[in-house]
């Protein structure tokens, strides 16, 4: 296999596109997932880098600023949706789907990129009462659409060389020839752990972000190395015709930054997988298990009363924390905002990635400017922290993503039926020597620590250090670059590694042994049931979590028929068909439209036979898009499910703990309970000590550079509610605006801190809830009151939005504070109201931003 690895990483022939490329392989022998990032460096990169670094003095003292520059420029590249080749191909057909975030509420409508591809879009107007919420999803769906001439793949971060300082792509033809490809690969050992496998695929956005950080670091290391080599060889960089020098093997073997970065990658991936989870995130569970809502509400109220009455300062902290969370994790807004239009029909289910939507919601990235928010509760008193986390898990909201498992009903004709086991000997013979690589679900084991190998390689296998190996003709055409025709020939030069492959494997082994040591004392299973004030902790058999997930997949599902019938009304088919085909056949005179062009094919009947988590028995008000999931709960569960035919109520009551569900989606994955140390990526977590500010700031900066859920992250926010000092601080970092090139290095990455002032409105509300609870109202009613109050805040924000649009009112250029009494609010509430406005209206934010 080792000899195979470079082929896997680079491909066998250099047909590959020379920009950034990504690959994923599923290796069978040791069952591994191999994530590869390939990127190329061009001599111009070196020149650009050189000028950048010399301009700023010595390199060593300015590494961070170089990082800043790279990230800034790659930010630009994604804004314009342009890589090196991209600009050429796109320039001739400007379909501006990639619009910088702050502008989209307007521009998307103007250029019709949504409208042209989405149904019912003509009913939407820019001034529709509730832009923002559904539109984010619609926009995503249209961005990723491949219809009507749009084809805009989500960009990969590229090395900055392909852009000049203005963000324009350089001519591509000179680029590819002399550039040299480098590649990083990460091997994740998933043997016998299908949950880990599933986890990696579902959490790919986070993992890939990390991988991109690693890639950026490698680039950062490679550039000076290449520069130095050039300088040594030629005594200076002058011409752009130079080629990338060959680097010696193991140049980076001892590079401390790389080793650290790899260790950090490993650790963050490990932690992301194996950290404990809040077992029952309140909001999700309340909505997914409506039968348990009363119990959840009761425990919520109990905890709230408890921490509100613990001490005055704790009540203050709770108010401040809730104010801060509500101002930044904005995904609660759509859950209370009135449904004013039939826009809920427009959620194009399946046309966008629900996991992406969920991740956006959890990070509060739903506003008009993209913002990534995380919340950390600090406190040495674990009970307080747990209680606060529990309450906050009600406020950090996201939609449940159900993973539906469908099966094809018996249809002997269908190719999707599992084939008969009988095979010809011819075939069996071969199957014995190659098992199928894509493993299906096997027995599930308790998740263990993932084994992660990291390989950083350049044209050859080597382990994390071995960027080098000069004899390997990785992409040898850098010498014959003037003759494109030669490239094919030269590329056929065998690219196999010329050095022994045992050495790197041994290195890998070493890295394995070392990487397993650093955290021996950690509880390595994420199955620790949180000792939470949660009234309904998971029943003991779930703490194992394993048998439930894999073996009785059928156990708790209601049956959902997705197929109404296989009857197709032929007339609608005909019109649909002619419509969809019109674009093609309209100008085709020789081709008579109609029957012989198009053949309608009935589809095999499929049905959803289970879902994770179990789908609630009846859709909520404002149910998912009609037509999707016509639930059919009255049907008796068929024979497969055997004994559990008692109906939806029993199936509903079974609550899958987060330990089972965390690998399915982000909703139960990104909230960690009280942990012993800081971990990145979690939207909500608790730690004992506030000693993590440096890694946190680094994470915030990293997040701004590459994050998968948005083309461009405008700001990252970390809310730290410190119960040791009873202070709630909001750390925020803002990305520089694209046009602020002068301040490129200054504004980037500065993390500012400001303490969160509790909103008086919320503080009052919380106390009222406590009073109501004490007065004997049931917890559900108290929560209902809370929702009412949130709705009032939303209405105030709508009022503010209308006020801002009223010319008469804006004559006096009122400040935010002067608006407060008009809304009947206090000054301290205005931040929150402004944040709510920002989820659907960028005008308000713009007006008050400079005040």
């Amino acid at each position: 296999i080792p000899s195979l690895v470079p082929k896997l990483m680079f491909g066998t022939t250099p047909l590959a596109y020379k920009g950034s490329t990504t690959r994923i392989h599923l290796l069978t022998e040791p069952a591994q997932i191999m994530l590869t990032k390939t990127f190329s460096i061009h001599p111009n990169d070196i020149v650009a880098f050189n000028s950048a670094s010399t301009r700023r003095g010595s390199f060593s003292s300015n590494t961070s600023s170089n990082t800043a520059e790279m990230s800034g420029l790659s930010g630009l590249s994604t804004v314009s949706g342009i890589g090196d080749f991209r600009s050429m191909s796109r320039a001739s057909r400007p379909i501006p789907t990639f619009i910088p975030d702050p502008a989209y509420t307007r521009d998307d409508f103007r250029n019709g990129s949504i409208s042209s591809s989405m149904p019912n879009s003509s009913s939407m107007r820019p001034r529709a009462a509730r832009p923002g919420f559904s539109i984010r999803r619609l926009r995503r769906a249209s961005q990723t659409s491949m219809e009507n001439g749009t084809f805009n793949p989500t960009p990969l971060p590229s090395s900055f060389s392909h852009l000049d300082s203005m963000g324009n792509a350089k001519p591509a033809l000179t680029q590819a020839a002399k550039s040299k490809s480098f590649s990083i690969a990460v091997f994740i050992d998933v043997s016998n752990n299908s949950r880990l496998r599933e986890f990696i695929f579902s959490h790919f956005a986070l993992i890939e972000s990390r991988l991109h950080h690693l890639q950026a670091l490698c680039l950062e290391l490679l550039l000076p190395a290449c520069r130095n080599r050039i300088m040594l060889a030629k005594g200076g960089i002058s011409g752009s015709t130079r080629s990338i020098p060959d680097l010696s093997r193991l140049v980076f073997q001892q590079e401390i930054r790389l080793i650290e970065a790899v260790a950090r990658f490993q650790q963050s991936l490990y932690e992301l997988y194996s950290a404990p989870r809040i077992q029952s995130p309140l909001w999700l569970n309340m909505n997914t298990y409506p039968g348990r809502k009363a119990a959840y509400s009761a425990s919520f109220m109990t905890e709230l009363i408890h921490i509100m009455e613990e001490s005055p300062s704790s009540a203050q902290l709770v108010s401040a924390a809730i104010s801060a969370v509500l101002s930044h994790h904005m995904s609660w807004v759509p859950t209370i905002a009135p449904v004013d239009q039939p826009m809920n029909r427009d959620h194009p289910q399946g046309a966008y990635d629900p996991l992406w939507a969920q991740l956006s919601d959890l990070y509060g990235n739903i506003g008009t400017s993209s913002r990534i928010s995380r919340t950390i509760v600090v406190g040495s008193s674990s009970s307080f922290v747990r209680r606060l986390l529990y309450i906050l898990s009600y406020l950090i909201r996201c939609n449940e993503v159900f993973q539906l498992v469908t099966e094809i009903k018996d249809d002997p004709e269908s190719l999707l039926n599992k084939p008969k086991p009988s095979r010809s000997p011819y075939d069996i013979h071969e199957d014995q020597e190659n098992g199928s690589p894509a493993t299906m679900m096997r027995a599930i084991s308790i998740p263990k620590r993932p084994r992660i190998d990291t390989v950083v390689t350049r044209g050859s296998v080597s382990r994390l250090t071995s960027i080098g190996e000069p004899t390997t003709p990785t992409l040898p055409h850098h010498q014959s670059s003037h003759l494109p025709n030669d490239r094919v020939i030269s590329s056929s030069v065998p690219r196999r590694p010329l050095f022994d492959t045992t050495r790197p494997r041994m290195d890998t082994k070493d890295s394995l042994s070392t990487e397993s040591t650093p955290y021996p004392s950690r509880p390595t299973t994420p199955t620790t049931i949180e000792s939470k004030p949660d009234s309904d902790r998971a029943s003991p058999e779930y703490s194992n979590g394993s048998h439930h997930h894999g073996t009785n997949g059928h156990h708790h599902h209601l049956r959902v028929d997705t197929m109404r019938s296989r009857t197709h009304s032929s007339d609608t088919l005909g019109t649909d068909a002619s419509r969809s085909n019109k674009a093609d056949s309209a100008h085709d005179s020789g081709c008579p439209p109609g029957q012989d062009v198009l053949m309608n094919v009935p589809l095999p009947v499929s049905r959803v036979f289970c879902s994770f988590p179990p789908f609630p028995s009846s859709p909520p008000s404002g149910s998912p898009a009609p037509g999707i999931l016509p639930t059919n709960t009255t049907n008796p569960v068929n024979g497969v499910q055997g004994g559990t035919t008692t109906g939806a109520t029993t199936t509903e009551e079974k609550i899958l703990p987060a330990d089972v569900l965390f690998c399915k989606s982000y909703g139960r994955s990104l909230m960690a309970p009280y942990c012993d140390h800081y971990m990145p990526d979690f939207a909500l977590m608790g730690v004992p000590k506030c000693d993590f500010l440096d890694p946190m700031e680094a994470d915030m900066r990293d997040t701004m550079k590459h994050f998968e859920i948005s083309e461009r992250v405008a700001s990252t926010v970390c809310i730290v509610a410190d119960a040791n000092t009873w202070k709630c601080n909001v750390f925020s970092a803002r990305a520089q605006q694209p046009f602020e090139t002068d301040r490129l290095h200054l504004s980037e990455g500065t993390v500012s801190m400001q303490s969160s002032v509790p909103s008086q409105f919320l503080d009052e509300t919380l106390h009222q809830m406590v009073d109501l609870g004490r007065s004997g109202l049931t917890a559900e009613l108290c929560l209902g009151y809370f929702e009412d109050r949130l709705l009032q805040l939303y209405q105030c924000s709508r009022l503010l939005s209308s006020m801002v649009r009223n010319k008469e009112m804006m004559k006096g250029r009122p400040t935010l504070d002067s608006m407060a009494p008009l809304l009947g609010l206090h000054r301290s509430d205005m931040t929150l109201v402004l944040s709510i406005c920002s989820t659907y209206d960028d005008l308000v934010t713009r007006i008050f931003a400079d005040l």
Binding site: S89, R127, P155, N287, G350, W356, V401, E433, P437, L603
Partner: protein, 666 residues
């Protein structure tokens, strides 16, 4: 799911060839969207391009209709044809990119639609071979069905708006190049471990592809194997990765089905000798022969599997995979409550339009509470508001239906929707259980036997003055004099009530007359002294509207509760907090539309308080004085407001019903 599934084969004479692509089509929405776009200019070349490609594609896809396809295909290969040269332009940048990326030896002119558009056809790899002219025909590997259709079509089983179409090449011309590149990359460049396996690859230009590669037994092929790949292409990398396991599992099943179909053709009794004979006698040997090599036909999948309808099955399978994969991850939206109790914002646009035009049209309107307060005076206004807030019937009677409607609408602003049963323009009196806000014509009498504490009557009468006041119609003439005269005027309505009422009550149901000069021109607002009217009218007839407030319950004021609340409001009479807040809002002098919304916000706040009060009441705690007082303090409600809350609980009851319904259903 925004994905495209394609089946490609490594065709022996032609190399990698896409033979079937399946893609969903959403109905193209209204043309206004595209026509108004800035990308209109870019659309037209696209369309022409797609049409041009459609020609080649459709012709290449039919292996049966050779004669027509040959003619239609020929211009696409030559660069001299005007049609193809015109088509060259839009596709050229792509072609260059393609050329550049694949480093093929082809020159750009060969990338006319036949090449670039031939993502499905085999023409481009052929053209790179030494003798491009020898076989310019379409590859036989490509999709075909026995009945001769050129594309297959299905409607999504769960969403009838979504349909799927399968063709040898993608419907969208913009996808030709990416699919072609993906096809070449899958079958030529990417490696995977094992004989059969999946690779995910892609970049920000050519899209992201999950390719599942497998081989199918074919006795007539070199090595007795044909290499196929099923590719899924998406632009959303993360989504594709998230769906990767599912897709691979499905493709695996499809592949193994295809393999077992092919294996069924394998004749196991065949001795090694016979096998080698078939080896030597069939294409394997033939492929070595130079004359066979370029012209050799590819083996279509229908032949390899001996299933003429295999493409139909494949289409059905691909569509199922696409459809199920799109539904596999389903997000369930939690949404707020329905909009109906929040109408000011729903009707925002309409409202704005009304306001913009509405101000000029009418001479005088009482279309807002502020205006109502102005004409009534604060005290009477508060009385009217109080009566409406506690649920007493409010009767607006007047001869101008428009004004009556406006006043009724204004009053609705402070009441929950559930607490308003409004009859705008009734011909007869309606009982209070029928409606609590009643607009009546002036001539309608009020039944005399009503408890004056249960209703409040606002009479509007319009006095029209011409230049001579004596010419005013007598029935509506109201002397601007003492209240006794007015009482006489309304004696017809009131005589029985007032006569029957005891004296004490009669004093309680104090008759109030307010008069307000209404005027055509705003600046002429004057006290309504008849003498001034002549000068103010300026030649117009002057209208004077007189507001007469009768009966009704007095709001609890400072006299009642001064002891405990006096510290807050030492000067002004202390009305219930809700009314106070309304007045405060009116004092802000907000623009009318904003004011309506602000009142709606206030109303919502009080509705929510009322709901909690209702809950408290239902929990049986409202009778406990200490609980009640704590509730009042916590909710910032005065004791005088309790009556308002009680009335508002009507809507609490309604909404709790609906909430229960929602909870039950959700």
């Amino acid at each position: 799911m925004n994905a495209l599934i394609a089946l490609a084969v490594w065709c022996q004479p032609h190399g990698p060839v896409t033979i079937l692509t399946t893609q969903h089509r959403r109905p193209v929405s209204s043309s206004s969207c595209t026509s108004s776009t800035s990308s209109t200019s870019s659309h037209s070349p696209n369309q022409s391009q797609s049409s041009g490609n459609g020609t080649t594609k459709l012709s290449t896809s039919t292996s049966t209709s050779t004669s027509t396809s040959a003619t239609s295909l020929s211009p696409s290969h030559g660069t001299t044809s005007p049609s193809s040269s015109s088509l060259d332009d839009p596709i050229n940048p792509q072609a260059q990119t393609l050329d550049h990326q694949k480093k093929s030896k082809r020159s750009p002119p060969q990338h006319s639609p036949g090449g670039g558009g031939g993502g499905g056809s085999c023409s481009s790899p052929i053209s790179s071979r030494p003798s491009p002219t020898s076989n310019s025909g379409p590859c036989e590997c490509q999709f075909s069905v026995p009945s001769g259709e050129k594309s297959l079509h299905s409607v999504d089983p769960t969403n009838s708006e979504l349909s799927y179409i399968s063709q040898p090449a993608p419907v969208d011309s913009s996808l030709f190049a990416p699919i072609r590149i993906a096809c070449i990359r899958s079958l030529n460049a990417e490696t995977y471990s094992g004989r059969e396996g999946a690779v995910f690859f892609g970049d920000g230009v050519n899209g992201y592809v999950l390719s599942y590669m497998f081989t199918v037994y074919d006795a007539q092929s070199r090595g007795h194997r044909v290499k196929y790949t099923i590719m899924t292409m998406m632009t959303d990398r993360v989504y594709l990765v998230a769906s990767m396991e599912y897709l691979i599992s499905q493709f695996q099943v499809i592949a193994s089905n295809l393999q077992s179909m092919a294996n069924a053709l394998y004749v196991p009794q065949q001795s090694p000798a016979a096998r080698s004979m078939s080896y030597s006698s069939s294409h394997h040997r033939g492929s070595i022969m130079p004359e066979n090599m370029p012209t050799k036909k590819g083996r279509p999948l229908t032949e390899v599997l001996a299933k003429p309808d295999i493409f139909v099955q494949l289409h059905a399978a691909f569509v199922s995979v696409l459809s199920n994969c799109g539904q596999r991850l389903t997000e369930r939206h939690v949404q707020g409550r329905p909009m109906n109790d929040w109408y000011p914002f729903a009707a925002e646009d309409v409202e704005v339009a009304l306001i913009e035009t509405g101000d000029q049209e009418g001479p005088t309107t009482v279309d807002s509470l502020r205006e109502l307060r102005r004409v009534l005076g604060p005290q009477k206004f508060n009385c009217l508001i109080w009566n409406s807030l506690v649920g007493n019937q409010v009767i607006i009677r007047g001869e101008e239906p428009r004004i009556v409607v406006e006043i009724v609408r204004s009053l609705e602003d402070v009441l929950p929707k559930e607490c308003c049963t409004v009859i705008l323009d009734s011909a007869t009196y309606e009982q209070s259980y029928t409606c609590n806000i009643l607009g009546l014509d002036r001539s309608v009498p009020i039944p005399p036997d009503m408890d004056p504490n249960d209703f409040i009557l606002l009479d509007l009468c319009l006095t029209t003055f011409t230049r001579r006041p004596s010419a005013t119609p007598s029935p509506t003439t109201v002397q601007n004099g003492d209240s006794k005269d007015q009482a006489l005027v309304y004696q017809a309505d009131w005589s029985s009530t007032s006569s029957r009422a005891p004296n004490g009550l009669a004093s309680a149901m104090e008759k109030m007359a307010l008069e307000e000069e209404s005027h055509n021109n705003g600046p002429h607002s004057r006290p309504s002294i008849p003498g001034l009217l002549y000068s103010a009218g300026g030649g117009f007839q002057c209208q004077r509207r007189i507001y007469l407030l009768q009966a009704g319950e007095e709001p609890p004021d400072v006299l009642v509760d001064e002891k405990d609340q006096a510290q807050n409001h030492s000067t002004s009479p202390y009305y219930p907090l809700y009314i106070e807040t309304i007045n405060e809002i009116l004092d802000l002098k907000l623009p009318k539309s904003i004011e309506t919304k602000r009142l709606a916000v206030l109303r919502e706040e009080w509705i929510s308080k009322a709901k909690q009060f209702h809950n408290l009441y239902k929990a049986g705690c409202a009778s406990d004085e200490s609980v009640l007082s704590r509730f009042l303090v916590s909710m910032k409600v005065n004791r005088q407001d309790l009556k308002i809350l009680r009335f508002f609980t009507r809507c609490a009851r309604v909404t709790s019903h609906t909430q229960k319904y929602i909870q039950a259903s959700g």
